[in-house]
Each structure stands twice: as structure tokens, then as C-alpha cells.
Amino acid sequence: MLNGRPLQVGDVIDGFRLDEQLDSGGMADFWRVSHAGVRLPLIMKIPLLRQGEDPLTIVGFEQEQMILARLTGPHVPRFVAAGDFERPYIVMEHLAGQSLATLVAPLPADEIARIGAKVADALRDIHQQHVIHLDLKPSNIIQRDNENVVLIDFGLSRHLQLPDLIGEEFDSPVGTGAFVAPEQVRRSRDDPRSDIFALGVILYLLATGEYPFGQPERESEWRRRLWRDPLPPCWWNPDVAPWLQEIILRCLEIKPNARYETAAQLRFALQHPDDVLLTERAERRSRDGAATVFMRWLANRNAPRIRARDAVGLLDRSPIIMAAIDLSPEAEGLREALVVALRRVLATEPTARFACVNVLKTSRIALDPMQDAQGRNPHLQRLVELKHWSRVLPVAEDRITYHVFESPDPAAAIIEYARNNNVDHIIMGARGSSPLRRYLGSISSEVVARAPCTVTVVRQPVAALDSSDEQAATSLSGTEQSDMG
């Protein structure tokens, strides 16, 4: 309303001109607006407060206003302005893309993995900004471009460093019945893995066209997911690949601890289907038997409300660590120092995801032969050597993967991998510092200079080096840490 009459095209609110009314959501009106000083396409969201002042509308709008103003980056709509008490509104970037709700299931597995990895990347981004979405569903995910998706509608979300207006206002759980995680049913609002569960529901939907838990409206029906596991995706669609079923069912685990620890780790799995360790989940052809479900029902039917706790540390405790390993004979002396450094990190990071990487340097000009003189495929040979190299590391099988790349520029390949896989920490060795190496520049120094994350450069202790190498005596020994974050 403006001066007692309904809003119409041409009205101006705080400098924003209303250009066109868009489809109304359930809880708000949307207008395309423009502003003299802003070139971005804009949308104004005005909550529908006249309908008897529904608390969910009001408080959800407050919560969104609070959280959206604190979020940045390509995975959220850019926040532009908010109204005051008299005239509440939010102006934000208008996204022209389609939402995931327009996709028609079932999609091919590689397409699902591609989309899922983009959504997981967006979740990783907001989780790192201390925000849990808590209402993730296809209609809240908009495709921005080929690279990124945007998450919208933060009305039910939680910012872990700000007051939780939604959690304080309502005694019953809030969310969308088809997508809420079991712990959300128990009033938990501080676990980023609730979003991983919702993404699991979306992947299930894209793979089968079915909702794993239906679309229950009543809260009492939401509780069923505390004991009843979903039918495996292959029950609906026999074409679902085992690795995809493994990923989906791991996301949908009842206990958050059994899911992927972080969105970055889920994204990693979706980007490397061949490396997904297949467990009983991949084989599952039916649901758990009545006895198992009955026992879970007994244990969970009266499961109490979950008290707030600090889940922020989880993101820091479950990093993706990349070991860039040099398999050449000259690096043999470094091996022990590198293993010691990796063991130290693994001891303190039990839930880390570990990627062992080796770069097969190719010539820039000539086409390299696919086989060496003995007729072996060098790529496969490297992979075998890499696994052999890593066998002494104390990492569980489902937490380690091996990758061999071919590139004329090893440093660039390492950096690109780190960026594409949200690597938190690169650990690599540096060979001695001969005059020639200093002249040409070393791979490790280039990685240190350009990596998007923390880099640890491991050196061979001085005493272990060949005493004839005069540079060694003056070079640094031990471990150098350099934080490029």
C-alpha cells in the first residue's frame, strides 16, 4: 500500500521505481524495480503483512533481512537495501535464471553430479560464512550461469553468529516437509549437515522423480524419518549408478555423523564418481527390515529436542587436504620428511578428506606417446606408484583418493585442482635449492605464491642432505608454513 492505495507501476519507494509486478510468492509480493544509481537488475520483496500478521511471515522476513545483508559472493543474491519499520522490504539482485524446480527427472547420472556439485559448492560458500540454509529445495536454487547456482530465500536460515530469531520464536520445527533433516524435526538449527541431507533429497528427486520421504505437511508425519529409511533410488530407477546411490544414501543418513562432514567433501565425491568408495549403501535393493525399523522407532519415537551446540568447528575440523607427491628418483630423499609431515596433519585431522596428487609433466609442443618404451601406460603406472607411496599413511580407505594429471605446467595443475576442489591445505615437498633451480623457479614456490589456500612446504632436514651440496647448508630445514588464505 502507498498512501492507502495498492502499489502500482511507476510508484517510487525510497528511490526505487516499481517497474513490473512479478509472480507473488506465498509470503511476499515481488516487484522488478530500478534505481538511478544502480545498474544491477533489481527485485523488491515486500512481505504480505496484512494477512493477520502471521508470525512466520514477519519473523522470517526479519531473519532474511538480517542474514542476506551479511552474505556475499556468487552463490547468494546481492543485497542492496532494506526498508524500515513503516515499510518493510528487501531490495536485492534480480536473478533471471531458472530454478532447479524446472528440471525434469530422472536426469542422467553425470548431469545430476554436475548440478549437485554446484549446489554443494554454494552450500560450502554459505557455511563458511556461518550460515545454514535449512530450507534448501529445488525452487530455492537458481542457476546463475554455467559455473554457479544461487541460493535464495533465507527466511528460515540460521546465522551461527547472530541471534536466531526463528528458533526463538517457534516451539515447533519449521521447514519444508519433503526436505527437512531428522535433526531439524528435533529442533536442531545449528548443524550444516542438515543442508547436506536436503541436498540428498534433491539428488534423490533428480535421480528417481520421487520424494524419498513423500511431501508430508504435518509435523507428526515429519518424525517418521527418525526411524524409517527411504527406498533406495534404484528401487524406482534401476539405471541409477551405484556410486550415485552411495552418495545419495550417505547424504540421507539419519545421524548427521554418518553423512558427509562438509559440503566441500560432498562436492568432492560428486566430482570424482570413480573414486567414491562403494559400501553396502550402493548395493541396497530394499529398505531396512521391520525389526530394524522397530528398534529405531523404539529408540527415537520420543527423541527429545536437540539443544543448541557449537557446530561451527566442524567445518574447520573436516578439511580437504591435498598431498602433491613427487615420484621422481631425485625426490626419494624427501619421502621420509614428507611422510612425517603428513602423519602429523592426519593425526590432528581425523575427519579430513585426503587427496594424493601427482602431475605427469607433458611436453608443451610434441604429442606425448600414450605408452613408454616397455609398452606401459605411463598414467596407470603413476597411479600404481602413487598408491604404493601412500600406503604407509594412516588414512581410512574411504577418506583417501589418488589423482594423476598430465600437464606441461605442474604448479598450475596443482593450483587448479586445489581451486576446483575447495582444498583447504596443500602439503608438498621442495627439493634442494640449486642455483639452476633458483634461476628457473621451483614448483613449490610457485604454488606458495598462487595457491588459494594454506600451503606447507616440506624440506629434507639439512643433516640428511648430501654434504657436497653447498647450497644445502644454507637452505632452510624443516617445515615452512605459509598461509596464502
Binding site: 500478521e53 508470525p55 514477519i58 519473523v59 526479519e62 533481512q65 538480517m66 545483508a69 551479511r70 526498508g83 524500515d84 519499520f85 518493510p88 553468529q161 547472530l162 541471534p163 536466531d164 530469531l165 526463538e168 520464536e169
Partner: protein, 246 residues
């Protein structure tokens, strides 16, 4: 405009200077002092002079219960506090005492209310220490946001449009939007004698154009402040507690 909210300095010059330094580096335009400039600490004169100088340049200063006690005959407080107040009386000049005795109990600026203790009855020096006492003051005032001190423990309370109350432990240097359709009560921690087990001085920055509040912890030279308390012959416990932040 950026407003520094400073409360419960308690004659701790080192902590106060550290907060003023931080505020200056962060381009603060205005200062609001929420009372208790004296008591407990060893530098009442310097602190009161500094607050007076800020007030001459337009700052707001509110009366605290220790300030009132330092310029009157009766004081209802514990033994250490009463000893410190008697000592303080001997240190304040006439000008400083006059300044303290003229301070108001509350000040209102737009939608903001500034007060030292619980705004339900400012002169009764009640605490806002829990959700119950906070809810009473959220109902009693009409202000969009009320800022007080007195407890030495930072806390942020709020009431939704439906009348639901909640409390929140603010996190150091995280900007909190004070959303419009809600009533807020911000207890600013203490500069000179924090009691939330974090010994760093506490104050807050308020951006009134966007209604954004940020609590800030500032480390300071506790050794010097504690030594001055011992050298002045004030109760020894008043120096120890600075290290523990209680």
C-alpha cells in the same frame, strides 16, 4: 553515524584509553558514556576529566550508581566497593564532583534510550542479568533499542512483534543488525572491570544509519592498571579480578 557506547569504566585508565584508541581508529563520530566512571579503579580523576572533555564536544554521559555514591553520603554497596568509593571521594576535585552530580539518569535520542541500569526504574539501579529482568524492561520502554550497562556482562536481548523474548551472547566484532520490527535491549559490557571471564575491555559500536551494533573486545595493559590499584592501597581483590575478568 558511528557511535561508541562505553560503559562501566570504573577508573581504569589503561582499559579506557585502549577502547578510545580503538574507537578513534574506527572513525567514531560520537560517544555515549553509560555511567560508572569511578569506583574500583585507581584513576578516577583522569577518567572523569576525559569524559568531561568528550561531553564538552557533544558526547552524552549518563549517571551510574558508583558516580552517585561518590558525590553523596550514603551508598548501598559491598565492602570493597564502599572502600573504593570512600577513597575515590578524597581524589575527586570540586569540578569533577560537580560534573558527576549533574549527570542525568537517562537520555533519549530518536529511537534509542541510554541508561546505566535496568530502565524499568533507573534510579533503583536494578540489573539486567537474565531473560526475566530483560523482558520487564523490554516491555517497560517504548524505545526501538535500549542501551545499558551495570552488570559488566555483555548481552543482547530482544522481543519480537508477537511478544516472544530471547537473549543472545554477542560475539566479538560480529555486526548485528537491530532489525526494525523488534525491540532490542543491549547490555554493553564493562570497559574497566569485565565480569564475563574475558579480561579484555568491552565496548560497542553502533551505526545508527543502518541500525547495526557491534560488540568489541579490546586487550589492554592489565599489569599497570592492577599495580596502580595495589599501590593506591585499595582492596587487593580489585586488582586480581582484572586478570580473571570476573
Amino acid at each position: 553515524m558511528r557511535i561508541a557506547l562505553i560503559s562501566d569504566i570504573h577508573a581504569n585508565r589503561e582499559a579506557f584509553e585502549a577502547c578510545l584508541d580503538h574507537a578513534r581508529r574506527n572513525a567514531v563520530d560520537e560517544y555515549v558514556f553509560l555511567g560508572d566512571y569511578v569506583g574500583y579503579g585507581a584513576d578516577p580523576g583522569w577518567v572523569v576529566d576525559s569524559v568531561m572533555a568528550h561531553v564538552e564536544r557533544g558526547a552524552i554521559a549518563i549517571l551510574g550508581n558508583h558516580d552517585a555514591a561518590a558525590v553523596s553520603q550514603v551508598a548501598d554497596m559491598n565492602e570493597d566497593a564502599a572502600t573504593a568509593i570512600e577513597w575515590t571521594k578524597t581524589k575527586l576535585t570540586r569540578t569533577q564532583s560537580d560534573f558527576l552530580s549533574r549527570l542525568p539518569l537517562t537520555a533519549q535520542r530518536g529511537g534509542y534510550l541510554y541508561v546505566h541500569a535496568n530502565p524499568v526504574a533507573p534510579a533503583d539501579w536494578g540489573y539486567v542479568a537474565d531473560l526475566y529482568s530483560a523482558s520487564r524492561s523490554l516491555v517497560a520502554t517504548q524505545a526501538h533499542a535500549t542501551f545499558c550497562g551495570h552488570t559488566h556482562v555483555p548481552g543482547l536481548f530482544h522481543m519480537s512483534i508477537t511478544g516472544k523474548f530471547a537473549g543472545f551472547d554477542p560475539i566479538d566484532r560480529v555486526e548485528i543488525p537491530l532489525t526494525p520490527r523488534r525491540r532490542w535491549l543491549a547490555v554493553i559490557g564493562s570497559v574497566g572491570q569485565p565480569r564475563d571471564h574475558n579480561p579484555a575491555a568491552c565496548y560497542a559500536l553502533l551505526d545508527d544509519s543502518h541500525d547495526v551494533l557491534t560488540y568489541i573486545r579490546v586487550p589492554y595493559d592489565i599489569d599497570t592498571a592492577a599495580k596502580k590499584i595495589r599501590d593506591a592501597g585499595l582492596p587487593i581483590g580489585l586488582s586480581y579480578r582484572l586478570y580473571q575478568g570476573y
